[in-house]
């Protein structure tokens, strides 16, 4: 009788532990999903801004046509990218091409004085920063999730419940500081 009660209590505690673990992992998994969605919003925003930028710059830049073409190409690649890994990769490419576009624009005083260009530059730089911040938050959440499923005793059950380690996004070298 007494042994039965003890076994019952132990089983109860284990079941309760698994339920709590499962729920907290689901919560974290949704947070990861949500923080990816936050990155995606900013990526889309940037994609929407680029045609305007290209249109504005086209009239001024006579010599470095290739810089503009690279931006357009990278944007197209970005639109076709699927999944977290590919999208992040394509996004880095696009950031790079935009950076060289803004660097080249330094040589065109008329362009730099253009009100429309100035607004777009602020808008795109702001969005680039937001992407970086959103990635940082994504990585923070992924790290918490990974730590949770890898530490004992959670790791014993996490595998059975089919939770797998997620990859962190590689950070860009440095956020643009102005």
């Amino acid at each position: 009788m007494a042994i039965g009660i003890i076994i019952g209590v132990i089983l109860g505690v284990i079941v309760l532990f698994i339920i709590l673990l499962y729920n907290s992992l689901i919560r974290l998994k949704n947070q990861v999903k949500n923080s990816w969605a936050q990155i995606d919003v900013q990526l889309k925003r940037r994609n929407d801004l680029i045609p305007n930028l290209v249109e504005t710059v086209k009239g001024y830049m006579k010599h470095e046509k290739s810089v503009l073409e690279n931006v357009t190409k990278a944007r197209a690649a970005m639109m076709n990218a699927e999944g977290v890994e590919d999208t992040a990769q394509a996004s880095n490419m696009l950031s790079g091409t935009l950076k060289s576009l803004f660097a080249v624009s330094e040589n065109y005083p008329d362009l730099k004085a253009n009100q429309n260009f100035m607004q777009l530059q602020e808008e795109i730089t702001g969005t680039e920063n937001k992407i970086a911040y959103a990635r940082q938050h994504y990585n923070d959440i992924v790290m918490i999730f990974n730590t949770k499923i890898q530490t004992f005793p959670n790791n014993v059950f996490a595998k059975q419940l089919n939770f797998q380690k997620k990859k962190v996004l590689k950070q860009l070298k440095k956020r643009k500081r102005m």
């Binding site: 602020e122 702001g126 969005t127 937001k130 911040y133 940082q136 938050h137 923070d140």
Partner: protein, 300 residues
């Protein structure tokens, strides 16, 4: 990251402890008021009534009251695009909804955050800050304010301010009722020792409580500033941004924010009054010395 999650939980817990402590204190004050009026029940009722009304008003509109009291104006993305982008970016990093942006038209360098939770929060900066800081310094300051919001410091500080306000109000009332009730009691109550002890105790309570309340509030405020500095760095990953900003704030020859007063001083990133030295100013300071904060940031 981990640290700040624990910090949020601690702050919520601390808020409950604070509430509990103050409810008991308010009950005592109410009883003391009741005794001076020969009706314990009336005093308790009065204290509870005042407490509930005052806390409801403070909790739900405290944020807006503080904003309008300090002359802050809500701004749009078009007016201050880089402020807007910086706030939006940092709220993404902190994983909280974007707080509203407010600006005070003042040449002093200062900023504060307010609200009752991250969903109802606002960050205010002075125009002086926007003019004199570069982007990374501004981000450092905004990250500090963002940490106050994410860690629920804004709720905790507002709650403290409201509760200290209630206690001060009740103590004031108690002192007044001693003055009025004194003569009446002397005529019909001859030589009641218990009564005299109660009166003395009540008086001491009435005089000391507001002072103790202030000191508690300020000590908490100073500790929160260090916490917010360090979690600001987990957001920007760049301690020098905030350190340089604090350096500029320290060097500012005119730190006075025109519309700041004692009630709102503890909210600002750096004290909005002129600097003084001495034990009393340290005990009643709302902020730790800025040199110490810069030193800690540079060591990170």
């Amino acid at each position: 990251m981990r640290i700040s999650f624990d910090e949020t939980r601690n702050n919520k817990l601390r808020s409950w402890f604070l509430m509990f402590f103050f409810i008991i204190l308010i009950g005592f004050l109410g009883a003391a008021i009741g005794i001076t009026m020969n009706s314990l029940f009336f005093g308790l009722f009065l204290a509870v009534f005042v407490g509930i009304i005052y806390s409801m008003i403070g909790f739900f509109s405290g944020g807006n009251m503080i904003l309008s009291m300090s002359g802050a104006k809500a701004v749009s993305k078009q007016e201050y695009p880089h402020l807007w982008h910086a706030i939006e970016g940092l709220s993404l990093a902190a994983g909280i909804p974007k707080p509203k942006a407010y600006v005070i038209n003042d040449s002093a360098l200062n900023a504060f955050a307010t609200g009752r939770d991250p969903k109802h929060a606002a960050i205010t900066v002075t125009t002086g800050l926007l003019e004199k800081l570069n982007r990374e310094e501004l981000e450092g300051v905004l990250a500090h304010e963002m940490s106050h919001i994410r860690n629920y410091d804004i709720r905790f500080m507002m709650l403290t301010a409201v509760l200290v306000g209630i206690v001060t109000l009740l103590c004031d009332f108690l002192l007044r009722s001693f003055l009025w009730g004194g003569a009446r009691r002397r005529s019909n109550d001859s030589g009641n020792q218990v009564g005299i002890i109660m009166i003395v105790l009540g008086l001491v309570l009435a005089i000391l409580t507001p002072i103790i309340g202030q000191i508690i509030k300020l000590a908490i405020s100073r500790k929160r500033e260090y916490m917010a500095d360090s979690s600001a760095v987990t957001l920007t990953r760049y301690p020098l941004g905030l350190a340089n900003a604090l350096d500029k704030i320290r060097a500012d020859p005119d730190p006075l924010v025109d519309k700041a007063n004692k009630a709102t001083a503890h909210l600002f990133i750096s004290t909005p009054f002129r600097k003084k030295k001495g034990l009393m100013t340290r005990l009643f300071a709302t902020h730790p010395p800025i040199e110490e904060r810069i030193k800690r940031l540079k060591e990170m």
